[in-house]
């Protein structure tokens, strides 16, 4: 019974992602004992853990979109970083009314934000059309915006870095009034809740998994595989849009070259760390969310160890490769063969299936 409960816990989907997170956090606690210490400075909370949760917000939002795309199409959207830049550019350009730096808003905030998210969703729709309708490999299709996206963002801002030095705009990346908790944390949680609600209250989640696991069978039970795949790309685009607005609000500007830089890699990593197969099918949104926080914790840790921002990708690339090797059927087969060899001598009968 006891053994069973243990097995039960370890076999839970979220076990691995949570373990990873715990390991990273423990490593931090050992290195910096006050890792979990939260203090109130200048009326806002501060401390390592707050930094991690705050900084992870964009990644969490991206990871949600990436999870859906991965589940439905068995491929990844590598344009999310560039789409963030597009959204930021659209948002800031509308707010500034074309000026390079403004102290007051040229248009209402809400319009700019909606426009930004719409623009990003449009980018997603473009990707979705190529993948779902024309059947192009997801990564090749999204490669187009991966490179063109930042160029488009530059065009929107006319090659300038547009500054919006208005407090109301800074809220999204900063603080609401006197609230001591950074806004991005709230935004991330709100997005998680909304998407989770959509998945729980509509059949979208089931449809996505079904299409991702077996497209032909799904069609025969009446699902429109094309439309469902397309939708996930639109959602992924919209998510990138929201993340783009937050990222731009943090620096109250639209820096087309740096907003969302290298984040596509982190988002893919979050999905993989969350225990989701990169080949599509069943997915766990919470797994990806935990994965995203884990990566941010890892990033912050590496920063604390004096690793420069530019060098982070080296470590992340290695982690990605390790995860995909562990996930790969070839590796699993090798492992199974090893196991079979070990057991075959003693219990030949059990070796069957």
């Amino acid at each position: 019974m006891n053994k069973d409960t243990f097995k039960n816990i370890t076999s839970k989907r979220l076990f691995m992602p949570i373990m990873c997170l715990v390991i990273v956090l423990l490593a931090n606690v050992i290195k910096t004992p006050d890792f979990f210490k939260i203090t109130l400075e200048n009326g806002v909370l501060s401390g390592y853990i707050i930094i991690v949760i705050n900084r992870a917000s964009e990644l969490v939002i991206l990871a949600i979109g990436m999870t859906l795309v991965t589940a439905a199409s068995g491929g990844q959207d590598i344009s999310v970083g560039a789409v963030m830049a597009v959204a930021a550019a659209v948002c800031c350009q509308i707010l500034s009314g074309g000026e390079v730096s403004v102290d007051s808003l040229a248009s209402p905030l809400i319009i700019a934000i909606i426009a930004a998210i719409l623009a990003a969703a449009l980018c997603g729709a473009f990707n979705g059309f190529l993948v779902a309708r024309l059947g192009i490999q997801p990564m090749v299709a999204t490669l187009i915006l991966f490179t063109a996206g930042r160029g488009i963002a530059q065009l929107i801002t006319k090659g300038q870095i547009t500054y919006i030095r208005v407090d109301s705009y800074k809220t999204f990346g900063g603080y609401i009034g006197k609230c001591p908790i950074p806004t991005p944390i709230f935004l991330a949680i709100i997005v998680i809740i909304i998407v989770q609600l959509v998945l729980k209250k509509t059949a979208l989640g089931l449809y996505i998994e079904s299409v991702g696991i077996n497209g032909t069978a799904s069609r025969l039970v009446g699902l429109n595989s094309t439309l469902i795949k397309f939708l996930t790309y639109v959602i992924c685009g919209a998510m990138a849009g929201i993340a783009g607005v937050i990222a731009s609000s943090r620096i109250y500007s639209a820096d087309a070259n740096n907003i969302g830089l290298n984040l596509e890699m982190d988002a893919i990593l979050a999905v993989a760390l969350g225990g989701n197969a990169l080949g599509g099918g069943r997915f766990s949104l919470m797994g990806s969310v935990i994965g995203a926080y884990t990566i941010q914790a890892l990033t912050t840790t590496l920063y604390a160890m004096n690793v420069k921002a530019d060098q982070l990708p080296v470590y992340k690339a290695v982690v990605v490769i390790i995860i995909v090797i562990l996930q790969s059927p070839v590796f699993k087969k090798m492992l199974a063969n090893q196991k079979a060899k070990k057991t075959s001598g003693t219990t030949a009968t059990e070796g069957g299936k």
Partner: protein
């Protein structure tokens, strides 16, 4: 009289986990003969060929060529022993030229470089020798399937094969192309090549083959001279009956008082898969579709259901003309379709039993009307219970269930949508006897409750037990219907075999 034997398989057995695919099968191929390998689904034809060509290993038995026992570990091994295979799906590269496809892996070289001129000349010579009218420099994809098939054979022949296996090469060819293929086959035969011909077209067997070996359920039924085996006998042997003692099985069908058509198809057809057909399914009636594998029985129902959109004809549902562009349209009109290939088209492997059961109903309801957890669980429990699905729990992934239980789940999926018209394509294949009977009973019950059912099966008895009327399919065409007294094993076999039954 007895010709030299080029290939002999002796007492070959092969088991997959849980399945005895081949049991003590013997097979003999003589020099210069065309030998048909026949059998229904699951008979073990393809396993035998895969064992022979080294795709699969085998547990016991021997393969003997030219007096020596050989072991093939891979298709390449088999090739080096002189055994070449040409599959239905042409295994050539469409983007390369004909000449390259003939010679890749063994290109003629000059100073270490590929000698294109020699290769082209040799290819042209080979094509000329075999009277295949293709240009050596053409891209393979520019050739018709029939030509590609022949080029594949040419490649095999040029690699000095003694045994040529043709695995359903004629499935996608038209009559004229088949005839050309036969000319080539006869030519090779006269040159002493032993040919194993796998097909399910009876006409073709009687047109070119010297001998027939019949397999059933992984065992050898027998080897026969084509000339001495009447068609009806062959069908009977494939179906596992001795024609002489065909007991008459009759279902106890209630005579329907009034025929109310649920589905009417008029002139529905789809190019390349099924010729235009008429078909009616009435309320409360079980209609069977019979015919050998590949005869078009699945294609017919798929066309009605919109799985493969037909390009001609009209479909009427309850008397009204229906527009069916995709399965969802058919579902909304009250149709349900249990596909032939459970693994590929039926189950969503990683989803749970519950999710697999409710999926079709959920798709029908639409994305924004998610069934509540309680509704789902009730629905799942109901069908797990009524169909007696053996599963650890309703949340178990369907892939870990046995084949029969998976099939029950899929049946449950469709019953849950409460259809007026249910299509069951081979619902009992690969399922234990107990479950088979359960499914047959269920079908009759459903019909009694007023559902219209179309039932497809390779097993004639099963069809006789359940169906009150049967459509007969042959070579992608609906060739007739059997009713009343003709509904007997003999009648069905004769209808399937076609011709005058004795050729």
């Amino acid at each position: 009289m007895e010709k030299e034997i080029v290939l002999e398989m002796k007492d070959v057995s092969k088991t997959f986990p849980g399945v005895k695919a081949l049991q003590h099968v013997d097979f003999k191929l003589r020099k210069g003969e065309i030998h048909a390998l026949m059998g229904e689904n699951g008979a073990g034809k393809s396993t035998l060929i895969k064992v022979l060509t080294g795709v699969h290993d085998f547990q016991s038995g021997k393969i003997i060529m030219a007096g020596e026992s050989i072991v093939n570990k891979s298709p390449q091994d088999a090739q080096s022993h002189g055994i070449s295979t040409v599959y239905q799906e042409v295994n050539l590269c469409p983007n390369l030229t004909v000449a390259e496809n003939l010679f890749i892996g063994r290109e003629p070289k000059k100073f270490g470089f590929i000698d294109w001129k020699t290769m082209k000349d040799k290819a042209s010579q080979l094509l000329k020798d075999l009277k295949i009218d293709a240009n050596a420099t053409d891209k393979l994809e520019e050739c018709s399937i029939a030509k590609q098939q022949m080029i594949a054979i040419a490649r095999a022949v040029d690699m000095k094969c003694k045994v040529l296996i043709l695995d359903e090469p004629t499935s996608s060819l038209d009559d004229e192309e088949v005839e050309k293929l036969f000319i080539l086959m006869r030519r090779l035969k006269s040159e002493g090549v032993g040919i194993v011909f796998v097909t399910h077209f009876l006409e073709q067997v009687y047109a070119v083959c010297d001998r027939i070996t019949v397999l059933r359920n992984g065992t050898l039924v027998g080897e026969y001279e084509t000339a001495e085996l009447p068609r009806v006998m062959l069908v009977a042997k494939m179906m596992g009956k001795d024609f002489d003692d065909l007991a008459d099985i009759k279902g106890d069908h209630k005579q329907l008082e009034k025929l109310i058509p649920v589905i009417e198809a008029k002139g529905v057809g789809r190019k390349g898969s099924i010729k235009p057909f008429d078909f009616v399914a009435n309320k409360g009636e079980v209609v069977g579709l019979t015919g050998l594998l590949g005869s078009g029985r699945s294609e017919l129902v798929r066309a009605i259901y919109g799985a493969d959109k037909p390009d001609s004809g009209k479909i009427f549902v309850n008397g009204k003309e229906a527009k069916i562009n995709a399965p969802i349209d058919a579902m909304k009109l009250g149709m349900a379709y249990l596909p032939e290939d459970r693994k590929k088209d039926g189950i969503i492997a990683d989803l749970s039993v519950r999710e697999n059961i409710i999926l079709a109903l959920q798709a029908k309801k639409g994305m924004f009307h998610l069934m509540s957890r309680k509704e789902m669980e009730e629905a799942a429990d109901k069908y797990i219970e009524t169909l007696q699905v053996k599963t650890a729990s309703r949340e178990t992934p369907i892939k870990s269930l046995s084949g029969g239980n998976q099939q029950k789940v899929i049946i449950g999926r469709w019953l849950l949508t409460n259809p007026d018209y249910l299509i069951l394509d081979e619902p009992t294949r690969g399922i234990d006897i107990g479950t088979k009977t359960e499914i047959q009973k269920l079908v009759l019950d459903l019909a009694d409750q007023g559902m219209s059912v179309t039932f497809i099966s390779s097993e004639v008895e099963e069809m006789l037990r359940t169906c009150s009327r049967m459509g007969v399919m042959r070579d992608g065409k609906k060739v007739g219907e059997i009713t009343g007294d003709d509904l007997s094993q003999e009648g069905v076999m004769k209808a399937i075999a076609g011709g005058d039954g004795n050729e």
